[in-house]
């Protein structure tokens, strides 16, 4: 459901509260105006051209002052509510505290980095028991990080660090999207925030940090490296981000590919290997001109990434 009907954090709750207030005020004002318009239209409708001119009234100082002062009082009240909510919702922008999470927008994917070095694309885990200070960054153009049920949206501006509180009061999966136009595939930068109880979150973070044991690469993995896939896509959560393409670690646990544009099925993975531009037009992945046999082996490899 929409952000204003199902807030799941104190911040989102506060926004929903302000919105409800504005909606109520707007409804009353609109009804007053509409009632006056409808009344005039019905009551003062003239039958034809021939009727005598009505009484000519040029204004009323007291009425005019009334409809200046009353709206002034309303917006003054609204301003106070606004500022109070801003204080509650907004995270400190100049804090010396290191962030709990760094989220980076790329054309057209998201990536989250935890203090222990874990890097994950698309799916961001948070605990439910406390609010995280998340730093929002951009690697290229302006994006906007938006999880309607959980937090205010925040522009990711290149060259700037911006901070938000990321918080959830109940465990669950919350969907998010990019909310600033950022080029061809702005539509498909949809990501998820997974909120878990503190214990589950810590376990997840530790497990991720342990990473996959270093085995001798098999034929498929060698192909992944030789064909240049690994130049952009890391497969280990602890590897630093290449900044060019999302990490493929844990690929098979994801429901969607490419920020929501395709379901994660073997057919769609194959489509991506065959013609990346058909899979997500405009994305930054070049066509790697693989043979059918290479694609088959790479698919096996991708399907092993859990």
């Amino acid at each position: 459901m929409g952000p204003l009907f199902s807030p799941h954090s104190p911040q989102a709750q506060s926004i929903a509260g302000v919105f409800s207030l504005v909606l109520a005020i707007a409804a009353v004002v609109f009804l007053v105006v509409a009632a006056a318009v409808v009344y005039s239209v019905v009551r003062y409708r003239s039958s034809g051209l021939a009727t005598a001119e009505p009484r000519q009234i040029f204004g009323s100082r007291s009425l005019e002052i009334l409809w200046t002062v009353v709206p002034l009082l309303i917006v003054t009240g609204l301003f106070i509510v606004t500022v109070r909510a801003m204080v509650l919702i907004d995270a400190p922008q100049n804090s010396t505290r290191p962030p709990d999470l760094v989220i980076t927008g790329h054309q057209w994917w998201w990536e989250a980095r935890y203090p222990n070095g874990v890097v994950v694309p698309w799916e961001i885990h948070i605990p439910t028991s406390r609010r995280l200070l998340a730093r929002i960054e951009s690697a290229d153009v302006i994006h906007d990080f938006w999880v309607p049920d959980l937090a205010r949206k925040m522009d990711a501006v290149p060259g700037r660090w911006s901070y938000i509180w990321l918080d959830a009061d109940t465990p669950g999966t919350y969907s998010g999207s990019c909310s600033e136009f950022c080029g061809a595939q702005h539509a498909w930068m949809r990501f998820r925030v997974i909120a878990e109880p503190e214990h589950d979150f810590e376990t997840w973070l530790k497990n991720e940090a342990r990473g996959t044991p270093n085995e001798v690469p098999g034929t498929e993995e060698r192909l992944f490296i030789d064909k240049g896939c690994a130049n952009c896509h890391s497969v280990a959560v602890l590897a630093p981000s290449s900044g060019k393409g999302p990490s493929l670690a844990g690929l098979m646990t994801r429901e969607f590919l490419g920020g929501g544009i395709l379901r994660n099925t073997p057919e769609n993975l194959m489509l991506w290997l065959t013609d990346p531009q058909a899979a997500k037009p405009g994305n930054r992945m070049p066509n790697t001109l693989l043979t059918a046999e290479e694609r088959r082996l790479l698919l096996i490899y991708l399907e092993s990434l859990r």
Partner: protein
């Protein structure tokens, strides 16, 4: 033909503005329909994302710069001299130059389609997406150059209107007596002179970056992407009022005439226009609330953005009070004016919602904004212009528009408009971002979008009917006579259509309603407490 190409008569130039605005309105409307078709259902692939992005960029740029501004300038150039009892604009050749700069700016913008690379970074064109690294094609160069030409044309016509209103008023017409359309046109023109240079400056920065490899807006080289946003919105928010204030002026002319009462509280309506103009230069950062600019900074802009609702609200109440106690005649012009009142109120109120910063933090860049701006610019400006076309067409052409066709087009346009845009409030609340070429099949997304698309089709039908009415009435309409509405301002004292010399004799003015005084010698306005 050459009489039109070389026209310097304000009436011809005014009509050229209107025709060019209509032409681009149809182009911008077609772009909108392509978008609505693509969005009719989730995951459609009628057009590529690149084409979609070109469509919304061209739609926004067209509707603001090639439709809203020129149609209002066109009415200003045509009506202002007539309404103030002048025979000509103060600077006729500047008038001609301004129009052609504007028009060929539009032609240059559309020529980008022929090169295969129309601009695709939005009408707001945020850096650094517009930098060469991310937009290597020539589309944005066309966009920036075209807008520079249009800026020149707009400033030229604004100066012309200011000088005309300042110097060419009929004897006796003080600034306290000018019709409100003239007032609002004057204020909007002053705003153009101060706001458009900020746009020109930002365009020059963009072009320097793109063509001369400067680094104004490139953060990787020490530039500042946010510089663009500040400059663009210092222009961009006053721009909203530039295309709304003259529409307020039109409504302030039409409602009194068809309610048979003078405007309620003229001094308040005129003063609130100036208040809006003044405040509009202090609200630009409300377009940037989602940027981390600091709480105190944002609070100042929130306060100004809420304050600006007060003078706007005053006008709404004045219009309603003008109708109250009147003898209302429901011509098509009046129907559009009344619909304007309700729709603009919706757009104004959703605007107040965005001034409340936390609401903006949730709703900005969603379909809620798309709904809001269309209630302001279509429900507001376009409805006012449609009212004005029905009101002034007899003066321009000498013939009345067909009332029956007018009513049909009115109801289709009202129905289509509200169907298209009201549901977009809900789409925004459900979390649909704007400027997306498609969307996932989430609950309600498909249904509401389809509803919106069907509404848009109805709207197109209504607009086409309106165009047909104009074309037919131009040749077959009933003869209007000089003053078909029994109106009160000076343009109705001139013949319909006016001759090259508007007034055989410059009328003397003693009140805000010179023709009322002439028709009611027993109780002229200047004797009462107007």
């Amino acid at each position: 033909m050459s009489a039109w190409l070389c026209a310097i008569d304000h009436k011809r130039i005014g009509i050229l503005y209107m025709l060019s605005a209509l032409l681009f309105f149809l182009a911008g409307g077609m772009e909108a329909m392509v978008m609505r078709a693509q969005l009719a259902a989730p995951n459609l692939k009628l057009i590529t994302p690149e084409i979609y992005n070109q469509m919304f960029t061209m739609h926004g740029t067209t509707m603001i710069f090639l439709v809203a501004m020129p149609i209002l300038t066109g009415f200003g150039v045509y009506m202002v001299p007539l309404m103030i009892g002048a025979n000509e604009m103060a600077l006729p050749r500047l008038g001609s130059l301004s129009f052609w700069l504007q028009f060929f700016g539009g032609v240059l913008l559309y020529f980008s389609f022929a090169t295969g690379a129309a601009p695709d970074a939005g009408w707001f064109s945020y850096a650094p997406l517009t930098e060469e690294a991310f937009s290597p094609g020539t589309g944005l160069d066309y966009w920036a150059l075209a807008l520079l030409m249009i800026t020149g044309g707009s400033v030229g016509s604004a100066i012309n209107l200011i000088v005309t209103i300042a110097t060419a008023r009929a004897p006796g017409m003080t600034m306290r007596l000018v019709p409100l359309f003239v007032w609002t046109t004057l204020v909007a023109s002053v705003m153009i002179v101060f706001a458009l240079p900020a746009l020109a400056a930002s365009l020059v920065m963009l072009l320097s970056d793109r063509l001369l490899h400067a680094h104004f807006l490139d953060s990787s080289q020490g530039g500042a992407p946010l510089l663009w946003q500040h400059y663009f919105w210092i222009f961009g928010h006053p721009e909203v009022y530039i295309v709304v204030l003259p529409a307020f002026g039109m409504i302030s002319e039409i409602i009194p005439v068809f309610s048979r009462k003078p405007i309620f509280g003229y001094p308040f309506v005129a003063t609130s226009t100036v208040a809006i103009a003044f405040l509009s230069y202090g609200v630009w950062a409300h377009h940037m609330f989602a940027v981390a600019l600091g709480r105190n900074f944002l609070a100042v802009f929130a306060a100004a953005s809420m304050l600006i609702a007060v003078p706007t609200g005053m006008k709404i109440f004045s219009w309603v009070a003008t109708m109250w106690g009147g003898a209302i005649r429901f011509t098509t012009a009046m129907l559009f004016a009344v619909a304007f009142l309700l729709e603009f109120t919706v757009g104004g109120l959703s605007g107040v919602a965005f001034a409340a910063v936390p609401v903006d933090w949730q709703m900005t860049d969603t379909y809620f904004v798309v709904a809001h701006i269309h209630y302001v610019l279509f429900g507001g400006t376009v409805f006012a212009v449609l009212a004005a076309v029905h009101y002034w067409f007899p003066k321009l052409s000498g013939r009345l528009l067909d009332e029956k066709l007018g009513r049909w087009s009115f109801w289709l346009i009202v129905l289509g408009f509200n169907n298209t845009f009201f549901v977009q409030h809900f789409l925004g609340l459900l979390g649909m971002p704007r400027r997306v070429y498609t969307y996932p099949d989430l609950p309600w997304f498909g249904t509401l979008n389809l509803f919106s698309t069907v509404g848009a089709a109805v709207l197109v039908f209504g607009i086409l009917l309106f165009c047909a009415n104009i074309a037919m009435s131009l040749f077959f309409g009933t003869q209007a006579g000089d003053d078909p509405w029994n109106a009160w301002t000076l343009e109705w004292a001139a013949p319909s259509p006016p001759l090259l010399q508007n007034f055989a004799e410059i009328p003397e003015v003693r009140s805000r309603r010179p023709l009322w005084d002439r028709k009611h010698p027993e109780a002229p306005d200047w004797m009462g407490a107007q």
